[in-house]
């Protein structure tokens, strides 16, 4: 029986310890992650779902470069979840469209974004790349989160979705019914956000 509706404050404390301003978080953490696999391809947005248990003011998007790639860079974004399809929907709610160099191994990247509140609910984090593809801190290969929460197709273990989009563009607006591919055999890069 769901008691949360009667005791939202208490329930949220059990579920999530709360956001602390000035910190950097990786959505949906703790999540099994890896730094071993390079981003598979350029010009694709790699997307994974995450949930926020309370409202939070996001100030920056970022990530972790494990092994840099020559002349590579990343753009990042956060999208709403479609209640119709449980897939990313609409214009990005937060976008880092300038692009951040991902050439330095063992470095963190971050880009200031327009301060934006995200309310409780499900979202999608996405990133796309250009240049010699780097290895980013990514969802572990064979992690079950994507299929567990959002559902997939019958097929190999997958860690998220990809959506074709040229790197040169700003992060895309995604229509309901858009075509996605599932990402198997590699991890989807994890985003961090600063609050």
């Amino acid at each position: 029986m769901e008691l949360e509706g009667l005791m939202p404050l208490y329930a949220d404390e059990k579920r999530f310890p709360g956001f602390v301003s000035g910190t950097v978080l990786m959505p949906l953490a703790p999540i099994p992650s890896t730094g071993a696999s390079a981003v598979p391809a350029v010009d694709k947005v790699y997307l994974y779902p995450f949930v926020l248990f309370e409202s939070v003011l996001v100030k920056q998007l970022g990530g972790r470069v494990v092994t840099g790639g020559a002349a590579s860079s990343a753009k990042q974004g956060i999208w709403a979840n479609s209640l119709v399809s449980n897939r990313p929907l609409g214009a990005p709610l937060i976008a880092a469209n300038t692009g951040q160099a991902t050439t330095g191994s063992g470095t963190n990247i971050s880009e200031d974004t327009t301060d934006a509140y995200l309310g409780p609910g499900w979202y999608w984090a996405g990133s796309k790349y250009t240049g010699t593809l780097p290895a980013m801190q990514s969802i572990a290969v064979a992690a079950g989160q994507f299929r567990y929460f959002m559902g997939s197709a019958n097929g190999p273990l997958d860690t998220g979705l990809s959506y074709d989009d040229a790197y040169a563009n700003d992060m895309p607006t995604i229509a309901e019914g858009a075509t996605f591919a599932t990402v198997a055999a590699s991890g989807v890069p994890l985003l961090s956000f600063s609050i």
């Binding site: 499900w122 572990a140 273990l157």
Partner: protein, 189 residues
């Protein structure tokens, strides 16, 4: 979304999709340990959902091998599987071919929100299926016995392959599985 906080536990099930029953990282390199043994791990259903098939993934097939599967309700008294399977794939499905997906047709069944157990048994040369991680500690939330290991990935219970998926009775003594191998079974809606 604020009106129904349960949404934050899971975004809901949509028809025509395949849903996983485990979080964390699956194992793809450990064979099922024993024939004639049901391996069981707990999973949670968040909303009423119509289940149409159960799906296993074969990494490395085993000659003449097959599996049967069942979904069991959780006993609130002991947090172990109880009763007859609420969904059963008793036909036996071949797991002999590498890198294949085994779709088991089952009687369409609505699962209500709650905790369940996924059980699988196998025969012949035991295959490597996508399975619960070796150190998943899947039983830690349900409670178990200490056993011979501190790793508690699943329960097992002897059950001859030839029979249908068994009915669990109160007082059945299950065995803690410390090694890897309990197969992960997805479901389609």
């Amino acid at each position: 979304m604020l009106g129904f906080r349960g949404d934050l536990d899971h975004p809901g099930y949509l028809p025509g999709r395949v849903y996983g029953t485990t979080l964390g990282t699956a194992n793809t390199s450990v064979a099922i340990a024993l024939v004639d043994t049901i391996y069981l791990y707990p999973f949670r259903i968040f909303y009423p959902v119509l289940v149409k098939t159960l799906i296993a993934r074969v990494v490395t097939g085993g000659a003449n091998s097959e599996i049967k599967c069942g979904v069991y309700e959780n006993s609130g008294a002991v947090n172990q599987p109880v009763g007859a399977p609420v969904i059963a794939a008793n036909t036996g499905y071949a797991t002999a071919t590498n890198n294949t997906y085994v779709t088991m047709d089952v009687t369409d069944t609505v699962l209500s929100p709650g905790w369940y157990w996924m059980g699988t048994k196998a025969k012949a040369t035991l295959p490597i299926l996508v399975s619960v991680a070796t150190n998943s500690q899947a039983l830690s939330m349900m409670g178990s016995t200490q056993g011979s290991t501190t790793i508690q990935n699943a329960w097992s219970f002897a059950d001859a392959y030839a029979g249908n998926m068994r009915t669990f009775a109160a007082g059945d003594v299950l065995t803690v599985v410390g090694a890897g191998g309990p197969p992960i079974i997805d479901f389609s809606t």
